[in-house]
């Protein structure tokens, strides 16, 4: 039962953040805010990606050549910069990651 309360609470919180500004159709943003919104995807997603590469477990630094998250992340960035193709980036990045993990003996098989 408590888990369902947890889930319903998460639903309310998540929906509230997503609906927040859709709830006010008459609201117009000042130019400064509109300008700032141009940087939202870059700032938010980079703030998720870079710690994910440097601290894969969220706690400890992993600046070492056996950190597949870091190496494959750099390869993925290179693929994205060269191809600018989303499918090639995601597919190529994942392939690079799993090959690296195999090569480094980090796959649990």
């Amino acid at each position: 039962m408590e888990n369902w309360i947890l889930i319903l609470g998460m639903l309310a919180i998540t929906f509230a953040t997503r609906y927040s500004l859709f709830a006010f159709p008459d609201l117009r943003f000042p130019p400064l805010v509109r300008q700032g919104l141009h940087y939202v995807p870059t700032a938010v997603l980079t703030a998720i990606v870079v710690p994910g590469m440097l601290l894969p477990d969220g706690k400890t630094w992993a600046l070492s050549p056996d950190n597949a998250y870091l190496l494959a992340g750099l390869i993925t960035i290179a693929i994205a910069a060269v191809t600018r193709h989303l499918l090639a980036t995601i597919g190529g990045g994942m392939l690079a990651f799993f090959l690296l993990r195999l090569w480094l003996g980090q796959m649990p098989i």
Partner: protein, 236 residues
Amino acid sequence: MSRQHELFQGLRDMLPMLLGAMPFGIIYGSLAGAAGLTPWQTLGMSVLVFAGSAQFIAISLLGGGATLAVVWLTTLVVNLRHALYSATLQPFVRHLPKRWRVPLAFWLTDEAFAVVQHRYAETDASPHKHWYFLGAGLAMYGNWLACTLIGLVFGQAVPNIGEWGLDFAMLATFIGIVVPMLRNRPQVAAALVAAGVAVACHDLPYKLGLMAAAFAGIVVGVVLERRYRLLQDEVF
């Protein structure tokens, strides 16, 4: 473009994103049981919450014995970024009735946001771009539910599925979205500052570092854009 065409185009443009979300959905479906969720609750969370990173963090916290309040607070902080997405798309959906705005908001994920924002930025005057939004949202939702189910049913058959590093798929997806956006100095600076602040603040509680980093990046982007424009004005 017609409604059906927009809907279908939205579905189609989401396909690469679906590949990136699949491993994440499967790993969530596989690991939720160990955190104490029943199969119905595992699926229920995907149906009702539909937020990959928040769901993943929730089961990690639950597994560690966190209280409801901690999980909710973390969900709020992690998902605050969606308020920024909501603000970004608001000018494009404000003409729609509530029966459209409510479901579109429910389906507003990182991936749908990236694809839909791109569509709205195109200059054609199609009056049915919200159908594109709907297609993108439905594609992501269907994929997420299917992958949760796959993880739930088959996850136990794969030994140590939590150790495979399937979470890297999300990083690859976000890299694929961000890198093509880094086309001018303010955008590059916003990314570098957000990265630096996120890393420096990684041990703040409740994932507060994410929002601190996002705001720092946005402010730097705006400041540089203004300065860059001023310089241009002086030259011409």
